[in-house]
């Protein structure tokens, strides 16, 4: 395969142009051009009041969900990567399997579990314990995000961990490092790339999620995804502000990811990983 084959990239370039670049250009266009030409009103309207608040709430809840996913998911990835052949493969499969089920149905079933008269509370009452009131709160929304996106955190960390050379950890042990030190000085730094991609894979969908807050949060909180959906689907003439909001969301996510990648690079150049 030589340079000649590079012409084959042309159709793909055309496809990307039409279906990726132009649509994003349209978002930018509608964010800045109203019926009366160029205007900054739509972008400005985001800064004032409701939209900024909703964006803030989404980022806050998404961040909490991401941190919980990391705290829960990291040990999972570690345990799986340490397991033996068959059980390792089985556990990876079990982590992936729920992703094949429709997430709306899973979230809906989660709602059945969490409701005040739901299954968990019915059991709690049966054994004489106090029911928990979690449904229709922010906590339930975060729980839903963690539930839906936890595998996105586990899998990248796991795949990085399996690539860690056993000789490195053994060498550390030989040099007198105890289990904790080996973990902190060797395994943790080596798994940073996995953590980074795990964080982005959870954070972006969590922040922009819609429906989760409606099913589990009782619709009392409008996350940014819900607002964008409402502006495009329900509100007449909401397209411009909706496009502006999409643009802001996209740019914010891009900034987050660039920051994360930068963090990744600086770790790399820190010299820990040869």
């Amino acid at each position: 395969m030589n340079k000649k084959s590079s012409v084959l990239a042309a159709p793909f370039a055309l496809w990307i142009l039409i279906f990726t670049v132009v649509p994003l250009a349209l978002v930018v266009y509608f964010a800045f051009w109203g019926d009366n030409g160029f205007t900054l009103d739509f972008i400005k309207s985001i800064g004032e009041g409701e939209y900024a608040k909703s964006l803030g709430t989404s980022i806050w809840l998404g961040a909490i969900a991401t941190v919980i996913c990391l705290l829960l998911g990291y040990p999972v990835a570690y345990i799986i990567s340490r397991a033996k052949g068959i059980s390792q493969r089985t556990m990876v499969m079990l982590i992936m399997l729920p992703q094949w089920m429709n997430f709306l149905l899973r979230t809906y079933a989660l709602m059945s579990l969490l409701e005040n008269n739901g299954l968990i509370n019915t059991w709690l009452r049966d054994i004489g314990l106090d029911p928990i009131n979690i449904i229709n709160t922010r906590a339930a929304v975060v729980l839903g995000m963690v539930y839906d996106f936890l595998p996105f955190m586990v899998l990248p960390i796991y795949s990085v961990m399996t690539k860690i050379d056993h000789r490195v950890t053994e060498a550390a042990q030989d040099l007198g490092a105890n289990g904790f030190v080996v973990f902190r000085r060797v395994i943790l730094p080596l798994s940073v790339p996995g953590i980074i991609s795990g964080i982005t894979m959870v954070f972006v969908p969590a922040v922009s999620s819609f429906i989760i807050s409606r099913l589990l949060g009782g619709g009392k909180e409008m996350l940014i995804g819900d607002v964008i959906e409402m502006l495009f689907i329900q509100v007449e003439g909401g397209r411009n502000v909706g496009a502006a909001l999409s643009l802001v969301l996209m740019v914010l996510m891009l900034i987050c990811m660039t920051l994360m990648n930068h963090f990744d690079d600086s770790e790399d150049s820190g010299g820990m990983i040869a």
């Binding site: 084959l8 089920m101 079933a109 972006v204 922009s208």
Partner: protein, 265 residues
């Protein structure tokens, strides 16, 4: 001690991940419409599943879109990967960044932007209408990047001299490609296609924005969650779960056998 702790921890995580799915499966056998009260065992929802035209139509549409989108995305992705492979570094980097846009962009933004595009195109071109065609185009768009990313590493791993050798021996380029290159990268092509198929089948947000008057299965499920998801939808999911489980088991057992064989040698 540590082993017990880690086993317990994994058990809790798996209970957390599977509790809602188990609830769905159990209540698909419930004798009433309730999703919280157990009223006895029955197969009525499985019967009603096979009589439900709405679900059947949505499922058929989802499968059609997924098959067409997966095949098209694989072809486009294959050609693209080969093209990208031969490209100079600078251009390649630009293309790879653009390629990753649909993957890293929030899905809702992709959905909204494609809707804006299709609405504009429909106004421009009289023959295009929001519906099946736009659905397929949108699905291909978000599937291609995954196909490309699955094929490119395989191309890189390949020995480049093989292709040249075949040509030196008088094999025409297309034939050389089919005989030499394609078999080498086939696993990547196959994984890419499978990923495209499942991504397309499961997509809700983008289909919701670009589907026009069509209704794929996830969009139908969405409209159901607004009121009451009929237990026959749980029945469908349970069947689906069983199929996936069996498929994964087969693949896993196969792999294990292959590995054992290798070890035996």
């Amino acid at each position: 001690m540590r082993k017990i702790f880690s086993k317990l921890y994994m058990a809790i995580i798996f209970i957390f991940l599977y509790a809602p799915i188990v609830v769905m499966m159990v209540f698909s056998f419930n004798d009433s419409k309730s999703r919280v009260k157990w009223d006895g065992f029955s197969l009525r929802w499985y019967e009603s599943l096979f009589e439900d035209d709405e679900i059947f139509a949505a499922l058929t549409l989802s499968l059609e879109v997924a098959v067409i989108a997966a095949i098209c995305a694989t072809l486009i992705g294959l050609v693209a990967a080969i093209g990208l492979f031969g490209l100079n570094k600078r251009l390649k980097n630009v293309m790879m960044i653009l390629n990753s846009v649909p993957m890293i962009n929030p899905e809702i933004v992709t959905g909204v932007s494609l809707m804006l595009l299709f609405v504009a195109l429909c106004n421009l071109l009289g023959f295009l209408e929001m519906g099946f065609t736009t659905l397929v185009l949108a699905h291909i768009t978000f599937c291609v990047p995954y196909v490309v990313l699955n094929i490119l590493p395989k191309l890189r791993q390949m020995n480049p001299h093989l292709y040249e050798a075949a040509q030196d021996l008088g094999c025409p380029p297309v034939k050389a490609f089919c005989k030499v290159v394609l078999p080498e990268i086939m696993p990547g092509v196959f994984t890419g296609m499978m990923m495209a198929f499942t991504l397309s089948l499961d997509d809700f947000i983008i289909s919701y924005f670009v589907g026009g008057e069509t209704q794929t299965l996830p969009v139908l499920i969405y409209s159901m969650t607004k009121k009451h998801v009929k237990p026959n939808m749980f029945a469908l999911t349970s069947l689906f779960f069983a199929v996936i489980l069996v498929l994964l088991l087969i693949v896993n057992i196969r792999q294990m056998r292959d590995e054992n064989k290798k070890r035996a040698f």
